[in-house]
Symmetry: C2
Subunit: 483 residues, 2 copies
Amino acid sequence: MADSVLTTKPSIDSILARAARLASDYLSENKNRDRLVVDWLPPGKLREKLGLKLPKEGRGLEAAFTDAQSFLKRSVRTGHPYFLNQLYTGSDPAALLGEWIASLANASMYTYEVAPVFTLLEEELVRKMGKMAGWEDCEGIFNPGGSISNLMAVLAARNAAFPHAKQRGLLAEDRPVLFCSEEAHYSVPRAASVAGIGIDAARKVPVDSIGRMRPDALASMIQKALADGFKPFMVSATCGTTMPGAFDPLEELADLCEEHKLWLHADAAFGGSVLFSKKHRNLMDGVERTNSLSWNPHKTMGVPLSCSALLLPEKGQLKATNALDADYLFHDTAEAYCDRGDMTIQCGRRVDVLKLWLSWQSHGDEGYRRRVERAFDLTASGRDLLKLRDSFELVREPEGCTLLFRFLPPSLREQERDEAWNEKLERANITLRERLKHEGRIMLNYASLDGLATLRLVLTHPDLTVEDLRFILDEMERAGANL
Amino acid sequence: MADSVLTTKPSIDSILARAARLASDYLSENKNRDRLVVDWLPPGKLREKLGLKLPKEGRGLEAAFTDAQSFLKRSVRTGHPYFLNQLYTGSDPAALLGEWIASLANASMYTYEVAPVFTLLEEELVRKMGKMAGWEDCEGIFNPGGSISNLMAVLAARNAAFPHAKQRGLLAEDRPVLFCSEEAHYSVPRAASVAGIGIDAARKVPVDSIGRMRPDALASMIQKALADGFKPFMVSATCGTTMPGAFDPLEELADLCEEHKLWLHADAAFGGSVLFSKKHRNLMDGVERTNSLSWNPHKTMGVPLSCSALLLPEKGQLKATNALDADYLFHDTAEAYCDRGDMTIQCGRRVDVLKLWLSWQSHGDEGYRRRVERAFDLTASGRDLLKLRDSFELVREPEGCTLLFRFLPPSLREQERDEAWNEKLERANITLRERLKHEGRIMLNYASLDGLATLRLVLTHPDLTVEDLRFILDEMERAGANL
């Protein structure tokens, strides 16, 4: 009884209407640079403040709304232009609308009969994205994130090279190895671990000065592996690496893969959207020669998490790899040829295509092209800004839309660079980054590169300007003045 | 320029407000039994009707909204009481609110710093659900669906038994085998395939007359595997099987697993919610002795897809299995002990906990208990209704909230049951089910059981009544009268 009293129609109407107002206010506040990105609290204090407890008796829809409001206040504004912490950003209203309607429809993507419209949207998006990669017709599937897309690429490659593995497991004589660059995403070696191949079998190829896999090094590593009796089966190239945003040279890698009959995967989770731009798509020249391609619209295309496609030019590989005979789900109906559930390692699967579809309708190819080119232009300006200031050193020449640099605190400038200096620099950069995070105005990330903490600005937010970059650098100088 | 014109604040305000109205109307129409579950069109016709095309120039937010409306009209009403096709159903407004706010916040669950509130919600939900399973303290993680939860359980079990596999891959001497019942979900053998163990190594244990794994059969199969030189490492029990909704006997399986030092996993994706009910939780007696437990709140708890937890009583196993050193994401900060990204095979991970949190706040333990007990009561009534009618035969005595039965068309009643009869029965049941789907008022599913197509009604929708069941059976008799 209580349940239905608590969720009468007027109450639902009013809560959803208030959620809509909350959302539009939140989105418009994202544009206000004076708004904090995060009102930072450490876990202990936040836990105390929120007083989290699951109740025995229901508190009703109103109470749920009040909680949601207070949670939002304490969450990170990932759509704020100064959230530069990850490879995703933005908060596109058309995509948000797509998420809202998708959760309302609550379909599962395994069969046409349960998800007729969304199945067709997925087909069409796969076709279009495949075409952009140079394939007239291809297969593909949307997965919960780039790591799962990369895992499914490793599984498809494993199935092509060791087809017995699906049924009988890996055999002693298989000795599979795959290659990725030393700056590839950790999901690639982890996929090797998941697939029973082992992390050691994901061999890391050295990169050049801007972070691209070196084909000459790959060639020798393939030779070495063969000489040692291993069976190389795959090269996983990266288009837009996690740190410098570099693009591995697909043409040269494709030559090597053709020579040795290796599966070439392109992890373009971050970089895939350069395909919208005539000006920059040369970074992915050769993509049409790959065997599989991961591409995450939830990154530079600004669609909410998660939205990640795996595309393959040769049809039938996903089912060959993943299908099992689940007759309680997949039937021999007239429309069964549209069922997509057998192509994945999931069963129930969220609708991740509607948000992308609506966003694409709203912006068009041209809108995405502008967004991509704007990010490249901004990165070029940001690089020049950095070079002009004594307080920063550029660590890598940017190839994509990412700046890698270190802050040089006043106390360390014009001093001899020895080990002690390096240690101080390391500490200063990490401290500066944490300080900014705790202040809450700017969030950016860092990692170790060439043995030293390196700051990273990912410049893909569509509202970010050169003025913003100046402000961000000013802020770093201010917050780091006493380091 | 065009982009910002198309998404001005008044336009966003108005679109989100209209989305809210659309959603409340849609939810309230779900309660109207006269509404079709689906206005069925086969793929070719639907494709034609929708005229799907991705534009070169953006069409703006208004056009996106119009598309969303028309897509919704052509989608399946999975929240309608007569959508009985899958193991999930319902459309809880508090959970929907959770999805809306989660997509607005657009956090990724890998680190506390990006998802502070949602990280704490996940911790608390894991603690609470673990407590319900009888664990004072446990670890756990939310995954995109039960198949991924089951895969992660297989990986954790593999890591416990063959710890070298993560780094070095599976070795020739490993010879792993795992066991599940012949009516277990296909995600378990597929997890064996993904993990490099192979489908053949997922051995299928016979079930008893209502669909429960037979411990005596398991015991002999373990002995046989050992005698053949294999290394059994895991038993995956099912709590709420896909077809009859049966519960494997955890206590007896736990005894065997203790004896042979096997990892006991409970796939309670469907059945986990019986833990809310004192009256029915005996079905999962022994759950506190398992090593891992999958439980999908997106099923009987009515939360939108996907929401699936994997819980483990012994802390540290998820990181031991899945962690890699990704220093661009995971840092040595003061709050790093809260970071959860290293516990999964994903990297970016959607917020699937807010919808569950808000729904739980709204309904409380008691609301969920009522929902579960209602479904059991309804199933008992449905079973009795079926037994009273000549036009149906019950195929399994229900243990959970699922009815398995066959429709006996008038033309086949009181006839000798031979092979030809069986073939006719098979065809009649499949035809009836497709007919209902094409009419669009009722959607239910079927699968082969004991060699014959068997219809399945999943009775977990919170608004479903005995009156509805009578109507559904009447409708089947009407639609099947000429079969």
